[in-house]
């Protein structure tokens, strides 16, 4: 366990050192990875820990991005307040939507999360006077004290690092995933816990969205469209949904590959689809799961 800790600290230090390389490219990519890593981890709170397949997580990401942007531009709220309020909006939306969703199971749960996220998408897409509709909401200001790529990187890093603190809550969620009936017997209200997980997940997805909107100075309805929900699911599965950091690894690999591939070919979906198919057939535990079993085998053979 302690070796695990050390490894973690090493990674965190490495991530913190990225801006010292002086490369704008890596700082940009690093911020992107941190944001989507946070998003994927919060999705995985549902997927890996509770076993709920949300097919509409982009809704909360989008709610965070739009509300942070709107609060700053329309109401001239200062960034920290807008930022936290955006997270709260995500949590409130998740509470309302989750209230209905957690009553359903499996495919019906996935379908209902999809339906709700499409409602949010359609609103963002059609409500021109509020969101700018199809052309998106542009010109989101950087707060002054974060007005450099590097500073924004560190801010994102701090937010993500704050989130990543393991808690006993996570362990209860895992128990629920493994055996909902038995968890009910030991006196835990499964539906309530699922709802709380849904809310927390919505909150952090919205926080990630708010970071994303300010980082890009703009938000578009595509951020909420259902393929965006599929993409973050892929990140979580690619990295490994049974480990806490798996989704971050997935986000890093996926975004890095996309950046690299973009210079050679425009057929990124083809590559992504192939990766996903290979993954599902041969590495169902994702990258982290694969590495873990490999190490376990090595240690066992000694």
């Amino acid at each position: 366990m302690s070796r695990h800790r050390w490894f973690l600290i090493l990674i965190l230090v490495l991530i913190a050192l990225i801006p010292l390389s002086g490369s704008r490219y890596y700082v940009f990519l690093g911020t992107d990875i941190l944001i989507f890593g946070l998003f994927a981890v919060s999705l995985n709170l549902l997927l890996g820990y509770t076993g709920l397949v949300s097919f509409g997580q982009a809704a909360y990401f989008g709610i965070g991005a739009y509300s942070c942007a709107l609060l700053m531009k329309r109401v001239s709220l200062v960034f920290p307040l807008a930022f936290v309020t955006a997270g709260a909006f995500g949590a409130i939306a998740a509470l309302i939507i989750g209230f209905f969703c957690v009553r359903l199971t499996k495919i019906y749960f996935a379908m209902l999360t999809l339906a709700f996220s499409q409602i949010v998408w359609a609103l963002a897409f059609k409500w021109n006077s509020l969101t700018g509709g199809d052309t998106g909401f542009i010109g989101i200001p950087f707060p002054q004290y974060l007005d450099s790529r590097t500073r924004y990187y560190y801010f994102t890093f701090a937010v993500v690092a704050l989130k990543i603190i393991n808690s006993p809550f996570g362990r209860i969620l895992t128990t629920i995933r493994e055996n909902p009936e038995r968890t009910e017997f030991i006196g835990i209200n499964v539906k309530l816990f699922q709802l709380v997980a849904f809310m927390i997940s919505g909150f952090f997805s919205a926080i990630a969205g708010a970071l994303f909107g300010v980082f890009n100075h703009s938000v578009f309805p595509d951020t909420l469209f259902w393929p965006a929900s599929a993409e973050v699911l892929i990140m979580a599965i690619l990295g490994g949904m049974y480990s806490f950091f798996g989704p971050v690894v997935g986000a890093a690999v996926l975004l890095y590959l996309r950046m690299q591939v973009a210079t050679y070919t425009q057929y990124w979906p083809l590559i992504l689809g192939t990766i996903l198919a290979v993954l599902l057939f041969f590495f169902p535990g994702g990258i982290v799961g694969f590495v873990q079993t490999r190490f376990a085998v090595l240690r066992g053979s000694r």
């Binding site: 209905f100 379908m111 409602i119 259902w226 198919a277």
Partner: protein, 297 residues
Amino acid sequence: MSLPDPSFLLIQSLNGLTYAMFLFLIASGLSLIFGILGILNFAHGSFYMLGAYFTHQFVSLFVDAPGQFWWAVILGSLTVATLGVVIERFFLRHLYIREELNQLLFTYALVLILSDIARIIWGTDQFSVSRPAILKGAVEILGQYFPKYNIVIILLGPCIAFLFWFILLHTRWGRMIRAAALDREVLGSLGVNVNRLFTVVFFIGAWMAGLGGGLVSPVSAIVPGMDVEVIVNAFIVVVIGGLGSFWGTLLGSLIVGQVYALGILIFPRLSLVFIYILMAFVLIVRPWGLLGRPLQR
């Protein structure tokens, strides 16, 4: 707000009916595959898109042949169905025992792969297929004009529906398919080759999606992205009607078609929102759909 002209309302409603029949073709394949194989197939929209592209391809191959369009639709959709069989036999089959999430994501991987393959073959240009010669022109209904081709589609939809209903209720294959939906293990132990049955079901489902794409090609442009657009509508149809329910799919298609056609007159902006609200409402009140039955598995 002044009331719209009733004849205009009728035409709009007929347009909705035409759209409903396309949706019905596609969604009933989706629903069939879900009902028997238990797989929610995201790639169903891709089959529809490929059906349209193949039809376009065959139409340009058979220039001036008699019945050019109909042959193109039949061959195009059969090509799609064959592709579906290949996918089922070599890939999907190995995922039946895995978690639903794996199956769902594999079909999504297919969406990504097939959309790019279509882009590689046909590029990003729009294509259109012209209507068969006898069906060009329009019919006058209450002073408004309605295309002949759309009337044929409205009539063709129920015909195909009744054909399938007949096959499912009155043939040996149909009985086996219904039995597979109830209990595939018992059916297998009775000596039925369940694997082959599943392949047949997937073939029929993919074929219907391909037919939908082929038949839609004269009335809507063939473009990249038509796969993603249609699949969500097909999901809405089967969710409203009831996943796996045949008559539910028909009812769902009719509802969605009318909501799109008439909703756009009442709330031009919000008809899109309304359709998703309807989907969410049905899932909350009756998760198994209007005419479906609660799932036991």
